[in-house]
Amino acid sequence: MSKPSEEEWSKTESLASRTWSRIKIGKEAIISLIIFGVAWQIVSFFTPSYIVPGWQVIFGKMLTLQPNQIYVTVGRVILSLVVSFALGVLGAVIMYLSKKLENYISPLVKLIMAVPVICWILFAVLWFSAVEFRIFFILVIVCCPVFLIDILDALKGVPKDLRDMILSFRPTKTQYIRKLLLPAIVPAVLTSWKINLSLAIRVVTIAELVGAVSGIGFALNIAQANFSVAEVFAWTIVLIIILLAAQVPVSWVESKALRWRI
């Protein structure tokens, strides 16, 4: 295999630095986090450990957590988001191409979005006995409309000026979609993924807490039942780490696909 050239290396480096620049935490943020950590530790000296456990207790607990629960939760989130995205894109394209269908589908989407997440969780528990399908249903019903609305808005937001420009070359429908619509909606798609990643991780935790026998939500439920505050905090830190780690690939794609914005 040939060695990458200096130019290729510098490209890779600049891409890495752009990715990092999108996700890195500022100096002020680090200082405020340190202040928070120290304050928490001080409070823990004066309160019982079942109310505010010290960091050494929380991190000690983290070492004993079952990684299987993490894999289960992450797997559920990824699968549901991929399916939600596919359905969202399909729905958005259909609604974009047919105003009539949009008039039919749009009220249903608004209705679905108006139902509180906790109600969907209860419906799923009442309707479906299969645990995996229950969680999948909840995540898809919550995340899919967000993808759909974001993508539909982005499609509608492609400026008429650009549409007329490309139409002046008389493209086929496929060319019109591939050369104009798809690249034009990339920023909105990435933003939608960021929003949905955060939403899905919050929703899956509640869904597992109420209606599952595995996953981080379920583990939180057990920790709460055992009154293990340190374990609740340990799982919370895991959830935060998962969320931050999930933003890394999105930021990487963003820095690659949207470098024209810099």
């Binding site: 000026d161 650009l162 007329d164 420009m165 490309i166 139409l167 002046s168 070359f169 008389r170 493209p171 060319q175 050369k179 104009l180 690249p183 034009a184 990339v186 949207l258 024209w260 914005r261």
Partner: protein, 251 residues
């Protein structure tokens, strides 16, 4: 031989929120000969851009006939594939594409081989002085440079007819003059038919072999042939300018 024939063309828009109708083009009739550079002048909002949109086949006329190279552009939309290029008032570059990729988008649509696309786009961008900016994104280019990319994009596909919609109107005078000169050289050397829409009379006289004066709504108020010899004579340009201005004022 006329390559563009406009016959009793009308365009009436219905306003979105009321039943009121607005006439943008009223009984427009004229011909444009092959290899001719025609300037169309008129006040802002007189329907010049609407006419260009109909000419491109992007809008349907309400009545009348418009024939471009033997076909109706709206009805036979695909028949004119690759035959017409347009430069808009704003550059309308795709911000996610580099200059070269913007320039070759028409060639991509027309399915030219990839190496031919790059060759042609590079050639045109180089002719227009952008050889060192092939890989620049639009956000990295000045207004004049962006408009040059837009010009290259239109010329890359080697169209028979090139349309310009106030293409140099928002540029500073120095840049606009340079671009007009470049454009004229390219059009004469490649023997294209050009339709140049503007509201600036000096620009119309400088570019056109013939000037068509539009009233408001768009209808032909006058057709004036421009003798190439007067283009160097400021007093004659001034006289023609006044003549056109009077026609517009009377309307």
């Amino acid at each position: 031989m006329a390559i563009i024939r406009v016959d009793a063309l009308r365009k009436i828009y219905a306003q979105a929120n009321t039943s009121a109708k607005v006439m943008a083009i009223d009984n427009l009739t004229f011909d444009i000969e092959e290899h001719e550079i025609t300037s169309i002048v008129g006040q802002t909002g007189c329907g010049k851009s609407t006419f260009l949109n109909i000419l491109m086949g992007l809008e349907k006329p309400t009545s009348g006939r418009l024939i471009v190279d033997g076909v109706a552009p709206y009805e036979d939309f695909n028949s004119l594939r690759g035959k017409m290029g347009i430069v808009f008032q704003q550059d309308r570059l795709l911000p996610w594409r580099r200059a070269i990729d913007n320039a070759k988008i028409g060639l991509e649509v027309l399915a030219y081989p990839p190496e031919e696309q790059i060759k042609r786009a590079t050639e045109w961008l180089s002719k227009l002085g952008l050889a060192n900016f092939l890989n620049a994104y639009p956000s990295e280019l000045s207004g004049g440079m962006r408009q040059r990319v837009a010009l290259a994009r239109a010329l890359c596909i080697d169209p028979k007819i090139i349309l310009l919609d106030e293409a140099f109107g928002h540029l500073d005078e120095v840049t606009a003059r340079k671009l007009r000169k470049d454009f004229l050289e390219l059009v004469y050397s490649t023997k294209k038919t050009a339709v140049f829409v503007t509201h600036q009379l000096d620009e119309a006289i400088e570019i056109g072999d013939r000037i068509i004066v539009f009233g408001k709504p768009a209808k032909v108020l006058a057709e004036i042939r421009v003798d190439p010899s007067i283009k160097e004579d400021q007093s004659k340009i001034q006289k023609m300018r006044q003549e056109i201005q009077q026609i517009l004022d009377r309307n």
